[in-house]
Symmetry: D2
Subunit: 402 residues, 4 copies
């Protein structure tokens, strides 16, 4: 693990998620940007001295110096955004598998470069769009893809929080500080931090690619340099329409991520704060409440549960499903396991690149006088629109994003 020292809540989530299923051990790390804090954090978390590194560069060197079978199987990059690229790129180039937090990198140039590196190195690369790990998201995805909704016409995706409704960054909140700082977060605030989750959720569930967007970005808190609220109209390829709402000034909201998809034959609805319910709303029959652990679910959703129905699993378990997918894929690559069958999908470097593209386009649209901004994402490395080409072997095996 790189980053994720004692202060950082997301580091602990990654560790819990990784070990939850007993497939992964936490064996090495460079847990902070300053040597002393890194070493202290590693000690507190029980890392052996030899692999408790003072910086990610030392870690890379140290792990490379170990015999193959002793090296880490993968590295998790959980630093602030601006550090993702150098770390991820360096580890990929050295042949390590990588799990990287989102947004993957700061701009499309970095994204292109990273996609190239991953394709050349042939490593497993996951981006922790963790919400895609929820069983009922997998079920939603399944139902849309299988046509249970008919032709998809409308997507409403929302991610509303309230924790930045006041100037938390000026009151010592470290999360708030780096997330509202363009140097460390990139060109966008709320759009980058949570809008990218919303975009990924919509894409994961529907497979739709954005064609054009119209974004209204706002910074409500005086002195804030990045957007803390954003509302977008979306036109998808193929004619579907969308609305994406994200906000960190929606007072009283905690972590209100939700998606609704309306097709010609049914609608569906899922809300992250009550993640064990998926509503299917047919045109002329009673709405159905689908819940995890039941036999009536698709195999991907069933595989994503550890417990019988009614024993709720939540955020950490969904996060763990991303790690479980990575662990499985690594085993396939190592030849320890047959591919095919019940693979657990996970978001890949292409999802990461799409997310970075979305953030850039949202900012571009917000600054434009024109109503619509072209937001088509073309695969960084070959100029094709990614959706539907399906030719990348890497993606067929790994990913959600087929």
């Amino acid at each position: 693990m790189v980053g994720g020292g004692s202060d950082a809540f997301i580091g602990a989530v990654h560790r819990s998620a990784a070990v939850l299923d007993g497939r992964t051990e936490f064996t090495a790390g460079a847990l902070s940007s300053t040597r002393e804090k890194a070493i202290d954090s590693g000690r507190a978390l029980g890392l052996p001295d030899g692999r408790n590194y003072g910086s990610w560069e030392e870690m890379l060197e140290g792990e490379l110096s170990l015999p193959d079978e002793e090296r880490i199987d993968f590295v998790s990059v959980v630093t602030p955004n601006f550090v993702h690229f150098p770390v991820a790129h360096a580890f990929v180039e050295s042949g390590f598998n990588v799990v990287c937090d989102k947004p993957m990198v700061l701009d499309s140039g970095q994204a292109r470069s990273l996609v190239n590196a991953v394709e050349e190195a042939g490593v497993v690369f996951a981006v922790t769009y963790n919400y895609s790990g929820y069983p009922m998201v997998k079920q939603a995805r399944h139902m849309v893809r299988e046509g249970h909704l008919g032709e998809v016409r409308k997507v409403i995706v929302e991610y509303s929080q309230g924790w930045l409704a006041t100037s938390a960054e000026e009151n010592g909140n470290k999360q708030a500080q780096w997330r509202t700082d363009p140097e460390r977060s990139g060109v966008a605030g709320a759009v980058g931090d949570i809008g990218s989750h919303a975009e990924n959720l919509a894409h994961t569930v529907t497979g739709l690619e954005m064609a054009e967007i119209s974004a209204d970005l706002n910074a409500f808190v005086p002195g804030r340099r990045l957007d803390d609220d954003a509302n977008l109209l979306i036109r998808y390829e193929g004619g579907a329409r969308g609305v994406l709402i994200c906000s960190q000034i929606s007072t009283g909201e905690e972590n209100n991520l939700s998606i609704r998809v309306y097709g010609s034959e049914a609608g569906l609805e899922w809300r992250q704060e009550n993640p064990t319910e998926l509503l299917l709303k047919p045109a002329a029959a009673p709405a159905q409440v689908l819940r995890p652990g039941n036999d009536y679910l698709c195999v991907e959703a069933k595989n994503a549960s550890r417990l019988p129905p009614g024993h709720p699993e939540a955020f950490i378990e969904a996060f763990a499903n991303v790690y479980a997918g990575v662990a499985e894929e690594i085993r396939v690559r190592k030849g320890e396991r047959e591919p095919g069958g019940a693979e657990k999908g996970f978001p890949t470097v292409y999802d990461g690149a799409r997310g970075v593209h979305f953030i850039e386009k949202a900012v571009e649209s917000a600054r434009s006088e024109r109503r619509w901004t072209d937001a088509r994402w073309r695969n960084a490395t070959n100029g094709n629109v990614a959706s539907g080409n399906g030719e990348k072997p890497n993606r067929r095996v790994q990913g959600h994003s087929g």
Copy 2:
């Protein structure tokens, strides 16, 4: 009553709402556009022959020929949209009080003319934006106006239905036929039919006036001539932002009208399909669930309930609250009752005009290349922005829209 014969569900709602509290009797009508159906409907509903008119013109004449104290106290206009103006205008000019269905008229010209007529005649004029009659909407309005939310920053208002997801107008559904027909409905479909309710709800609760809008209107069902889905970004006067979503192709939704308002200190949420719950979400305290009939509510909300807590009241009762407000105001005008105190507000001709303006601007925006379309509503008759001027005696006494 003009319109509202046997076929029309909304006519029956108006009648139930009007008589619910025992303050109004159904005494005269011209219930259909064809003489025979009008007479038949009136008979079936128990109108006395002498006041069961074959056309609205005959009704106007007939009622005018009666001595003052025998005439109807007010007329309800519940015809398809395109008939609202001539009927309402004629009755207003003859000095009758009017309750008119929404959207009030077809365009701003008609609206201006009607506002003028109402101001000159000094009659009571209500538009049945019935959702404003719900007790918890009145409470929401109270809390926003009293500053319980702090400064309002964001409004998300939505009205989603699914009943036009298929081509109902080609399958004999009469409601669908006139509502999708530009000749009878005006320039907009979903925006006019339900978007205008959403606009009114947002304005009623927050008092905010739209400055600019950016609208994406769509017609998903092949052959449909008016929008059946619309999504709007809104910039309000004073800096608040909004999203307005309306749709009649959101399969599986029944009548899903909801509003959320986020202020600097708290958020609130109300959903029409579960109208007895109003959520208040403070920044740093547990969310509160406010429910009708309780002593902790404001006087307007308390006055809008007939029953003790836990005995739900719903759509018809909210509708009846509009009628109760009109009946009360008429009594005040007649001198039968002191003004002041616990008046029940109701939407006025100004709300109606604002709604028509909104519909026009949404259509204009959807056709524009520019991102933002000016949507400021100026009082039809004096060129001032209506909000905040507060000088119209009519509005001070009557209305919600101060």
Copy 3:
């Protein structure tokens, strides 16, 4: 109407419910137990002087003196409990149809006598177990009766309120005063007032007859003479088990009536405070949310709605459904309408008698040392167990209780 003057909330509900559908007019009354208040109330409510009676005896005499076609079609008895019997009995004996509030009478002796009178007079007699009028209760009843749940095994019915958690009767609350007074309410408090509703709801939905009960009645508020809380275990004929919970000291509950029924193949759940949702929970498929106004409902549930889906109807509308059933049945009796088809059921004198029996048995059980108290209800007039005999023509035509 007898009773229901200005003070009494339930009188207003009866009037609103009766007139809601335009089938009934409020034409005569003796609205209070004291002449002066009766006359004042009647005037305030617009009764013509000639039929604004000072006592129910005068009203009975006055109406009898009118020609048949001018008399009231039925009388609503909405007095405190102890007055139900004399009024209802006298009007029945004089051949009037009666709508009577619940609990119907004070004891089984009165119930027997009233059943006899109704059978002899052949009048229509309804008891306002109004919760049976909700569309989704009718749907629940339909699904149980049609076997959608398989064999019914367990019923959990609950009616919890909190308004008597303090000594409201000593603080000037008139409702509290008579409801906690054995002279006016009878042998039971909460059990009589709301437990009887719960019993009726369970019977209406399932058709099950109680065999044995075990009741724990409590009076939590010091000085209270009747129970304010009761919990019962039930063994039904045929082997099903039940739990009935009722309380008026459940602080924070408003009017929380709910029922759950578990069968061998599915369960169902309905809650009065959110009456537009009926949950069906099959053993091996997603739960379904059934809502009023939809085509997938049974005919009785469809007939019980006035509005399209998503336009909620609630307490008054359910109450109005009882009145609509009575109005329809009276028309059938008068020969104005063919029987059969879409009759709207309503609770009859037998439901009323069953309820009184239940109250007596609950009190008896609470005083007994034995675990189980026989609670089988036998038809007052012929000694047979009522359920299943189905021979009473009166009941076949009228009622819910077949």
Copy 4:
């Protein structure tokens, strides 16, 4: 770990829960009752050969043969019920700390013996009444204990499942087989398996001790030898009343555990299937929705969350909180950590003994002709009623049950 091999879902839960927070490693086990399966399971789960034991007796011997600092810190007993006692007793006697699944043992004799052993050995002993680990249960407990509800008058606790609505035990379901088998489960079925959870939840939240109970136990599925459904009336010491409902034949219910507590000043409500909401319902103010991770919670509830508000934690995390409490207490005992302050409580051997007592009394009551069965629990070892004596140092430090 003893038990919990590949088949057993609860074994995996224990392991995930134990490692979730990085404080515990899975180092040794005897994972099945047959040597071969035990060894295979251990291997599959990555146990080192030297500590992958073929039986619990070997494990006890093996661990005792290790130097103190290499031994397991505690053993988790997750076998079918009838094996709990011998294993737990043997490990306790040898001085090992123990985490034991519920119900702790088969009868009061065993419970007494185990309590004695724990008191003599002075070890840490936890029973995995895991639902007490939910943050909002800790908050509920806090609010009741601090008097936010006033005097507690009524408790309604329910645990309804539907998975045994059919004869699953005859269709190869292993869980169903041992849970419906008196030889392996003890005297009770549903009451032992889930009723004991409900009893513990009610006691944990309220601290109330049962005085008398009246139980109706049923076996609905033909051929079943233990109860699959039970309903109890409860009279608590001090005058509160209760209802306990538990069932495994409530078709369509998954794992519906809920509790409601009504006091003289407020009520509260919590539902396990949506565990992040705790409703507080004051008498005269809006209901409040309390949610995990917020500053307004008590310290015990705050300590029980790992994530910010809106990032739901669920079953495994609650389970992990029990383990975290044990780990902490062990550290205190070892002197690695100061006692006091933010200790995480967990259910102790006394909670386990109370649960066994409850099961026995429920069965006794169900067989009795008398209405009420004395159900007072006296501390197995000293004859005192446990509640309120507060003298056991062990309990003061460790437990929930003070």
